[in-house]
């Protein structure tokens, strides 16, 4: 008897509409926990090496974790994994909402989608009934519109994920959308879904998940809710959610602005969490089991139109409000809505558009190439480009490739300010005076994303602290001292990568821990009571390390010529001092970037080129990967 899990993998081959159920293997549960752990192992084992991301042989995995769907704070995560449309390497992207729990109640921990449907299709899962259905009537519709229409057709009790036109057109940063405002935003998982002609998945589950010790797990879950409620951040952090950090990131000068030319936006108080509360918000919108909902659902009105929208959350504020310099929360929210409907990741879109505007200002793009003038602080420019990108029309076809490929094709020095790592656009923290966070971006396994490690507290405050405490202590709005580059950055980054990624394996949101300081050991207790497998947090961290080494190994295997150079930030971030704001004049020199990498590689057990050594792979229980690497002359 397997407790905590639904106990099954559902496989759907879209090429022949074949559906197969198989028991969830015990070795997967014991050695990879769930969520991104399942994604990592299944990708490594099942993807034919060397295929392109949009090859029908690429697979799209939907994975839950052992804590998904259970009674505890925020067990609502769903993970999507594939060969990355953004980097060609490892990809996973997760979202909150209610889809993962529903998948487990339907009886499946994991959904593995292979092949390509002949015509636009959607997958319907109603407990044991699994069908591939035609989706012609929904194809071309926006993500939100398609979800609404499918709900009307199937019934409210279905939980639904959709892609928008951007996913259909294989924009490399197309997202998967759910629950009218939640997204698996990063790495182009929506583009891979679109390449399979898969518009949506709808799931309804009426089964129950067995628990090893239900009485004790339920009592522990209640205790956990009470302890989260007692944290100061419950009252202090929740009202504004992630947007509440906007003041702080500007005060300490880490807010990406004007395509990362600077790290401070003068208008930040017009696009912060308070602006959302005062001017947009209708309701808090929570994911499954979440007592501190970061989702703020509201309505925005701009000169270009009005819309209902969830958000903006912090990242969207940073990349549209800072990087594209939209100056009101209403405009940021409208760009947010349009991205949601088109099915585009707001982070990547904000970076790509910021880059395009800078190219235009520098004369690298002409008005004729773009089709009109474009500028920062102009919602019209943003809306114009988003529509072009989603349809791959004109300049949009180039921009849809992501900033790395677009810059490589464009040349003329535009690579220097194409802000990405490995092909994934950089998210909402500027790091030229934050060496630990810089290293976190450089080494995140999916590319430049903050969710693998968030160590700005170390850089700015000198220690780990919950985000609520960090915000509450204030940023000061004064000139920041130049950060010291030291080997401690590698320790901070690795500790954070292992901790945060463990949540992604457990299928649980990390925000109660990160934002409020809820003690992570509670999750080990919950895991043990629910699954019956007694493991301490430290033991679970060891599995998290195995997963990290495996995701690195996947990218090493799949990206031709993988090496140290792929962990580098773009030249702007190590050559160009920050233009103004609290961190004016600061930059981390290239030699320090190299030092950071060397410290990190050494601590990870990788060689000087960033490849895991045989000893490391064997030490973490990946002897079969070491063997595979030897066969491919990778070690």
């Amino acid at each position: 008897m397997m407790y905590g899990y639904a106990g099954a993998i559902l496989r759907v081959d879209l090429s022949n509409e074949a559906v197969r159920r198989e028991p969830l293997p015990e070795f997967l549960v014991e050695n990879f926990i769930g969520g991104r752990g399942f994604v990592a192992k299944l990708l490594y084992n099942e993807i034919p090496s060397g295929i392109e991301p949009f090859d029908p042989e690429n697979i799209l995995i939907v994975a839950t974790g052992p804590l998904t769907g259970h009674f505890l704070p925020a067990g609502g995560k769903t993970h999507f994994g594939t060969k990355s449309a953004a980097t060609g390497g490892y990809a996973d992207s997760n979202m909150g909402g209610h889809f993962g729990p529903q998948l487990k109640y339907a009886g499946y921990d994991v959904l593995v989608i292979t092949g390509k449907a002949e015509k636009p299709s959607y997958i319907l899962i109603n407990d044991d009934t699994v069908e591939v259905r035609p989706a012609a009537e929904y194809w071309g519709q926006g993500s939100i519109t398609a979800e609404k229409n499918l709900k009307e057709h199937l019934g409210d009790e279905y939980q639904i994920i959709t892609i928008g036109p951007a996913g259909e057109n294989q924009v490399r940063y197309a997202c998967i959308s759910h629950d009218f405002g939640r997204q698996a935003g990063r790495t182009g998982v929506g583009a891979v879904m679109g390449s399979k002609n898969l518009k949506a998945i709808a799931v309804k589950g009426t089964g129950s998940i067995s628990v090893a010790n239900l009485k004790a797990a339920y009592a522990k879950g209640k205790e956990a809710f009470q302890k989260v409620k007692a944290k100061p951040g419950f009252e202090g952090w929740t009202p504004e959610g992630t947007a509440g950090i906007t003041n702080w990131t500007n005060e300490v000068g880490v807010f990406p602005t004007r395509n990362f030319q600077t790290s401070y936006a003068e208008h930040y108080k017009n696009i912060n969490g308070k602006a959302i509360l005062d001017r947009l918000k209708i309701t808090d919108k929570g994911c499954f089991g979440c007592s501190t909902p970061c989702g703020k659902y509201g309505h925005t009105q701009t000169s270009l139109g009005s819309a209902y929208v969830e958000g903006p959350e912090y990242e969207t504020i940073a990349l549209f409000g800072g990087n594209c310099v939209l100056k009101t929360i209403e405009e940021v929210a409208y760009a947010n809505y349009l991205c949601d409907e088109l099915g585009i990741d707001t982070i990547s879109a904000g970076v790509v558009i910021g880059w395009a505007i800078e190219c235009f200002q520098k004369g690298i793009f002409t008005q004729r190439e773009i089709g009109r003038e474009i500028d920062f602080s102009d919602l019209d420019s943003v809306v114009y480009l988003l529509n072009k990108i989603a349809k791959r029309e004109g300049i949009g076809d180039l921009l849809a490739e992501g900033v790395k490929i677009a810059a490589e094709k464009t040349g003329n020095g535009s690579e220097r300010f194409a802000i990405h790592v490995k092909g994934l656009e950089w998210s909402g923290y500027e790091c030229r005076n934050a060496p630990s966070m810089m290293l976190a971006y450089m080494t995140a396994d999916v590319g430049a994303h903050h969710n693998r490690a968030w160590v700005l507290g170390h850089d700015v405050a000198g220690a780990w602290t919950s985000v609520h405490d960090l915000i509450a202590s204030g940023g000061g709005d004064e000139a920041q001292p130049k950060a010291v580059v030291s080997d401690r950055s590698a320790q901070y980054v690795i500790a954070s990568q292992l901790t945060r990624s463990l949540f992604d394996a457990l299928g649980n949101c990390r925000l109660q821990m990160m934002e409020l300081g809820f003690e992570k050991e509670h999750y080990a207790e919950l895991y043990s009571l629910i699954t019956g497998m007694m493991k301490s947090w430290e033991e679970l961290l060891k599995i998290s390390e195995r997963i990290w080494q495996l995701t690195r190994a996947f990218s090493v295997r799949e990206i031709n010529g993988f090496g140290r150079h792929l962990d580098f930030p773009p030249a702007r971030l190590y050559e160009e001092p920050i233009a103004d704001g609290p961190n004016q004049g600061h930059v981390i020199a290239k030699e320090d970037i190299n030092k950071l990498l060397t410290w990190y590689y050494t601590a990870r057990g990788w060689n000087e080129n960033g490849i895991p050594t045989k000893e490391t792979l064997v030490r973490v229980g990946l002897a079969e990967v070491a063997e595979d690497f030897e066969g491919r002359d990778l070690i």
Binding site: F71, G205, K222, I282, D284
Partner: protein
């Protein structure tokens, strides 16, 4: 006792529904929950909580008189109920439920677990005394 709902506090997390299923059926299975959360998206963009307010419509319409008021709570007598499900059809809040593998409809027994576990006090259990004062 009665359940009061404060819709504005609800963020749709469904903690109440899961707690209800665990408390009443010892199952991690919110589809067995005896209350509903209506998510009204994309517009108007809010939540509505639907709980049994013990209005008695089910009892009034039961042809077998199988639903009886006991200490302020309408209870389905499993021995008398014939499973006609008329009560499910007439319930004004759609909180009389048919369940898989069962011939007997189920309803809220006012255990209060939803209110005790709601992390945002969107459902509140009002004791009789408070209720009278209110």
């Amino acid at each position: 006792m009665e359940l009061r709902t404060i819709h504005e506090n609800c963020s749709g997390c469904s903690t109440c529904r899961l707690a209800c299923a665990i408390e009443n059926f010892q199952e991690v299975n919110p589809s067995k929950s005896l209350l509903r959360i209506e998510a009204r998206f994309p517009a108007p963009g809010d939540y509505r909580i639907h709980v049994c307010d013990q209005c008695g419509e089910c009892a009034d319409n039961c042809p077998e008189d199988a639903i009886q008021l006991q200490e302020g709570v309408f209870i389905v007598d499993q021995d008398t109920c014939t499973g006609c499900m008329i009560c499910v059809e007439v319930c004004p809040h759609d909180v009389m439920f048919e369940q898989k593998l069962s011939d007997i409809p189920v309803k809220c027994v006012l255990c209060g677990e939803c209110a005790r576990t709601c992390p945002r006090d969107a459902i509140v259990l009002i004791e009789d005394q408070e209720s009278e004062v209110a």
